[in-house]
Every structure is written in structure tokens, then in C-alpha cells.
């Protein structure tokens, strides 16, 4: 229940920040926000907000950098960055649409799709060479999986048995111009990963219970395959008029649409009351 409430709070915070900035990548942020909340608020990722570069930390890479505002909102809530910094999004600060390493808590320069997988694979490889027991977790967009470099890395990670590498694909089924299956089909998506030698799992990206249960069961896994979780999601999840709308990949939040979206998110938040 607390995690669900946290997701609702973070969604509201994202809406407010994008409204301050005027516009932003809200659709693909809302599709992966429940995943990020479970990663950051259950202790699954071992991190230290007071020491973002703590040597023993797990590494998290938001390879679909356009969901950066979602990560900023979480980093601000956890104390990696301040609320003032969060509110400076796109207004003359280091907080732009695509996060980079100068922001505390961000590991790499994101924005161009298909880079995060290889960097994460290198991190996981280094940990394997050094016998370090920690995870590297990557969130990819499904549209990002059109990039050939993703599959170069996938092949390498499986060949090298990088069991410490976790990939979560935000499978919202939409790219900027529409439906993935109509434009250039990705299915059979799970089979593709399986054929590359990955330990493949499917999950509802908006079911906190399913995400928590899957992550905790996989932490006890015995095989040495890299893990991919295909997280079936809804672009724009949480705001009725944004849901499953490719046009909300990037949009303007102001006036009436801001009021309606805010009201809907507050209604969701109110369901959880005082926790």
C-alpha cells in the first residue's frame, strides 16, 4: 500500500514539475514509474543518498533517458537532490530532459537510445572480473530495442554469463509515431531475448505486488544467466487522457489539461489516505 501511495505521489510530483517547465516527456515516464518506485523504495537497489558515489552501491541506469523527470522526482524525494533542483527542470540548470552524470545519483550520460545496455554490461563485467557481489540494473524502453547496439550487448552479456545484470524493458508498445507492432514489429519479443540466452520474465509494470514478488524471487535465482524482465506497461499510466496515447510521448502540461490530470492523480492518491 505504501509503495502504491508513493507511486501516486511521484506521479503528481512529475506532473507539477513538468507544468513548471511547460512541457516534457510524460508518457514514457508514467509507464515506468511503478518500476522505478519498486527499485528505489524496497531496498532492492542498494544506494546511499548521502553518498551517491558510494563504492559499494548497486548501479542503476535509466537507458531510456527521456523518462529522466521520473528519476529526478525520486532522487529529490530520497534526498539525492533538492526539491529546488527538481523544480529547476529545463530552466537554466543541469536538470534537463535527459539525465547525465553531473546529477547526483545518475551514472551515465543518457538521451541517445541504445547506449545504456553496453555501459551496464561493462559495469557487470567489471564486477564479475573483480568478484564483487552487486547488481547492475538497466531500464530500457521497448522502442529502444530497435537499436542494434542493444542486441550487440545482449549477445555479449549472455555469452559472458553476466548473472549480475538485470534488464527491465518498459514495454508500453508505443513509440513517438505510434504502435510498435504496426510500425516495425518487436514481437515475439520475449522469444527474441530467450534466443539470445537470457533468463526472461514477464510482469505487469503497474502491479506493485507482481513487481515486488518477481524481484524478490529473482534475487534468490541460482542460474548464471542475465535477467530480463519484460514489463508490460501503459504509456501515460495514471492520467486518463494520456493513457495509451503515442502523442503523449512528449507534451505540454498547462491550463485545463494540467487541472484535469492533477485532479485525477489526487483522486488516486486520496484512495490511500494517511499511511
Amino acid at each position: 500500500m505504501k509503495l502504491k501511495k508513493k507511486s501516486a505521489e511521484i506521479r503528481l510530483s512529475i506532473l507539477d514539475v513538468i507544468a513548471l517547465a511547460g512541457k516534457g516527456h510524460i508518457g514514457g515516464t508514467y509507464s515506468c514509474i511503478d518500476i522505478l518506485v519498486v527499485l528505489y523504495y524496497t531496498g532492492f537497489l542498494k544506494l546511499n543518498p548521502n553518498d551517491p558515489l558510494w563504492i559499494g552501491r548497486d548501479r542503476f541506469i535509466l537507458s531510456k533517458g527521456h523518462a529522466g523527470v521520473g528519476l529526478y522526482a525520486i532522487l529529490a524525494d530520497l534526498g539525492f537532490i533538492t526539491v529546488n533542483e527538481l523544480n529547476s527542470l529545463n530552466q537554466g540548470s543541469i536538470f534537463g530532459e535527459h539525465p547525465h552524470h553531473l546529477v547526483p545519483g545518475i551514472e551515465i550520460v543518457s538521451g541517445s537510445l541504445g547506449h545504456g545496455m553496453s555501459i551496464a554490461t561493462g559495469m557487470a563485467l567489471a564486477d564479475k572480473i573483480d568478484c564483487k557481489d552487486r547488481k547492475t540494473v538497466v531500464v530500457l524502453g521497448d522502442g529502444e530495442c530497435y537499436e542494434g547496439a542493444v542486441w550487440e550487448a545482449n549477445n555479449f552479456a549472455a555469452h559472458n554469463n553476466l548473472h549480475n545484470l538485470w534488464v527491465i524493458v518498459d514495454r508500453n508498445g508505443l513509440i513517438t509515431n505510434g504502435n510498435t507492432e504496426k510500425i516495425n514489429k518487436l514481437e515475439p519479443f520475449s522469444d527474441k531475448w530467450r534466443s539470445f540466452g537470457w533468463d526472461v520474465h514477464n510482469v505487469d509494470a503497474h502491479s506493485i505486488e507482481e513487481l515486488v514478488a518477481l524481484f524478490s524471487s529473482l534475487e534468490k535465482k541460482k542460474n548464471d544467466l542475465p535477467v530480463v524482465i519484460i514489463a508490460n506497461s501503459i504509456k501515460g499510466k495514471g492520467v486518463s487522457f494520456m493513457e495509451n496515447q503515442a502523442s503523449w510521448h512528449h507534451g505540454e502540461i498547462s491550463g485545463e489539461n494540467y487541472k484535469i490530470a492533477r485532479k485525477e492523480l489526487i483522486n488516486i492518491l486520496d484512495q490511500y489516505g494517511e499511511l
Binding site: 551515465i108 550520460v109 553496453s118 555501459i119 554490461t121 561493462g122
Partner: protein, 319 residues
């Protein structure tokens, strides 16, 4: 200090033999090869298997891997053919490596027409130009065994991203002793001030031959400067080396656009060194013919004879 005689060794072996020593002393070093071999790499692979990884034919992934390894405290070397470790991965070099100032050393073999029979795909005529546009990266071009050996040491010890071209095959040393400090970035290798040729890479050896022709023909004293580090440009040392220069020629085995000549030209203007200036390199076109490296250089105006002709013609118009 007397120079070690490395003139009988392939430049790749000069580099990797020195790197072998560094690897044996530093377990942080990791070498990634992109389905590319060198004789001396075999020894490294056999003796340090945990520090050598063949990443196969996947250049984009390899540069990303290198970044991930470097972000985890490794000192990374990536070894491959010039266009494939530059043009093919320019975005990965830019965003994954250079933007974060990581100690990733891209070791590029195949400058100019090294792979002379393989067509435009394998020519190293645009790699250096492309990489020069990347912020934060240092760009080196080896001209002889001594620079090659020094680059292995610089790569392993100096932090930050580097693009390092090494040659394939043998080259004579350009200096007679080992006293030069290769952190300078440039060195005079032939005295003469009436015409100074600035170059680097194996093409510089053509300049040496050409300079003798020109001296004989014109009586001009021709100096040669090895600009083996193009970025950051060694401004102060270059100004000192060009102090008495009367005419300047740049020579490169690559496209003129964005190349060494353009960098030097900008440098001269910005430093108010207004001297007669000629750039020699490849015109704005593709080289589709195939032949050995000497044939290619001659065909595209970069053999000692062609260089001498170009300079002589230019001198006749500028005197």
C-alpha cells in the same frame, strides 16, 4: 640516452610489448579487441587472460563496454581498425567515454592507406578528423617506434580519453636519442627554417625524403616538425618550434577537411603567424582505387615525389 633499436619491429608489437609490461604491473588494465589481432597481443592474451577480451565484431557495444569498465575503475584499451573505432562509434566515444572523461584508450591501426587494397571502408582518412571534433579527448598520431612506445605509457598512466593511432609495419626512429619528453606533443626532427613541414604518422617519412629533394632543387633549408599530438594542440611548443619559420607546409595522409592542416592553419591565424601556408592531404573525394600503400600515396599525391612537386609548384607561385 641512446635509443633502443626498435626499427626492426612492427609498430603494433612495439606498442603491445610495452603495454605488456604495463599490464603485468597494473591489474586494472583491460584490453578489448574488436576481432583484430597483433603478434604481440597473443602473448598478452596467454599470460593475462583476465585482462584481455575479444569482443568480436560489435564496435558500438565495445565502446559502451569500455565505458562501463572504466566507470568501474578499469583502465581500458580498445583495439581495432581506424574507421571502425572512430566513425562507426563516434556517438559512443562522445557520450559514453569523452563526456565522462573516462580513461578509455582507443588504439587505432590503419591510418591513411594502411589497408590500401580494402577500399574506402578501411581507409583511415577521416577518423582523426572526426575524433578531433569530440570534446575532452586527446588525439595522438604515431610517427615512429619511439612515439609508439611512449603512447603505450601515456595511455596507461595519464587519465582521460585518448584516440591513439599506431602504425602497422616497420618505421625508422625519427630521433637519435631518448631524451625527448613525449608529453610535449611535438618535436623538431629536422633542422631548417626557410620552409617547415608539419606532419605526423608514417607520411612524415615521405616528408623527410621530399625535404631532401627540395633542398637540393631550391637551396631552401627545410625543417620538419613531428606533430604527434594533435589535440590538445601543443601551442607553446609549436610556437617555439616555428619561431624562425618563413613558410609552412602541413602534410597528412587523410582528408584536408578537419585535418591536421586545418588545425594548424587555425592555430597560425589565431597566433598572428601570417606566413605563406600550404596544406597537403586528400581532396574532398573518395579513393576507390586499390593498390599497395606506396601506389595509393603516389596516385593521390602523397608520395615523396608528389609532395616535392606540389611544394615546388607552390614555391614557384609564392616567390
Amino acid at each position: 640516452m641512446t635509443a633502443i633499436d626498435l626499427s626492426s619491429e612492427d609498430m603494433r608489437d612495439v606498442f603491445f610489448d610495452r603495454l605488456y609490461d604495463m599490464v603485468s604491473e597494473d591489474e586494472r588494465i583491460v584490453i578489448l579487441t574488436i576481432d583484430h589481432a597483433a603478434f604481440s597481443l597473443e602473448k598478452l592474451k596467454k599470460d593475462f587472460p583476465k585482462q584481455y577480451i575479444d569482443t568480436s565484431i560489435a564496435e558500438q557495444n565495445t565502446i559502451g563496454l569500455a565505458a562501463g569498465l572504466a566507470l568501474s575503475g578499469k583502465i581500458v584499451f580498445v583495439y581495432g581498425i581506424a574507421p571502425f573505432v572512430s566513425l562507426r562509434v563516434l556517438e559512443q566515444i562522445t557520450l559514453d567515454v569523452a563526456a565522462m572523461k573516462l580513461q578509455v584508450n582507443i588504439i587505432s591501426v590503419g591510418a591513411g592507406f594502411t589497408y590500401s587494397t580494402d577500399g574506402p571502408s578501411h581507409q583511415g582518412v577521416q577518423d582523426l578528423q572526426a575524433v578531433l571534433t569530440v570534446p575532452n579527448i586527446s588525439v595522438f598520431n604515431s610517427s615512429d617506434p619511439l612515439t609508439t612506445r611512449a603512447f603505450a605509457e601515456i595511455a596507461a598512466k595519464v587519465p582521460g580519453p585518448k584516440y591513439i593511432r599506431i602504425e602497422k609495419g616497420k618505421l625508422n626512429p625519427l630521433l637519435n636519442d631518448m631524451s625527448h619528453d613525449y608529453s610535449y606533443g611535438t618535436v623538431r626532427i629536422r633542422d631548417g627554417n626557410e620552409l617547415v613541414i608539419i606532419s605526423s604518422g608514417s607520411i612524415l617519412h615521405e616528408a623527410i625524403t621530399a625535404s631532401k629533394f627540395i633542398e637540393k632543387k631550391t637551396g631552401l633549408k627545410v625543417g620538419i616538425v613531428d606533430l604527434y599530438r594533435i589535440k590538445p594542440l601543443p601551442d607553446i611548443h609549436l610556437i617555439a618550434l616555428l619561431k624562425d619559420a618563413e613558410k609552412i607546409v602541413t602534410l597528412e595522409e587523410g582528408l584536408l577537411i578537419g585535418g591536421i592542416g586545418q588545425v594548424v592553419g587555425n592555430f597560425l591565424l589565431e597566433n598572428k603567424i601570417f606566413l605563406p601556408f600550404l596544406r597537403i592531404g586528400l581532396e574532398d573525394s573518395f579513393c576507390f582505387e586499390a593498390g599497395d600503400r606506396n601506389w595509393m600515396k603516389d596516385r593521390y599525391g602523397l608520395s615523396a615525389l608528389q609532395i616535392q612537386k606540389k611544394i615546388s609548384l607552390w614555391l614557384s607561385k609564392n616567390n
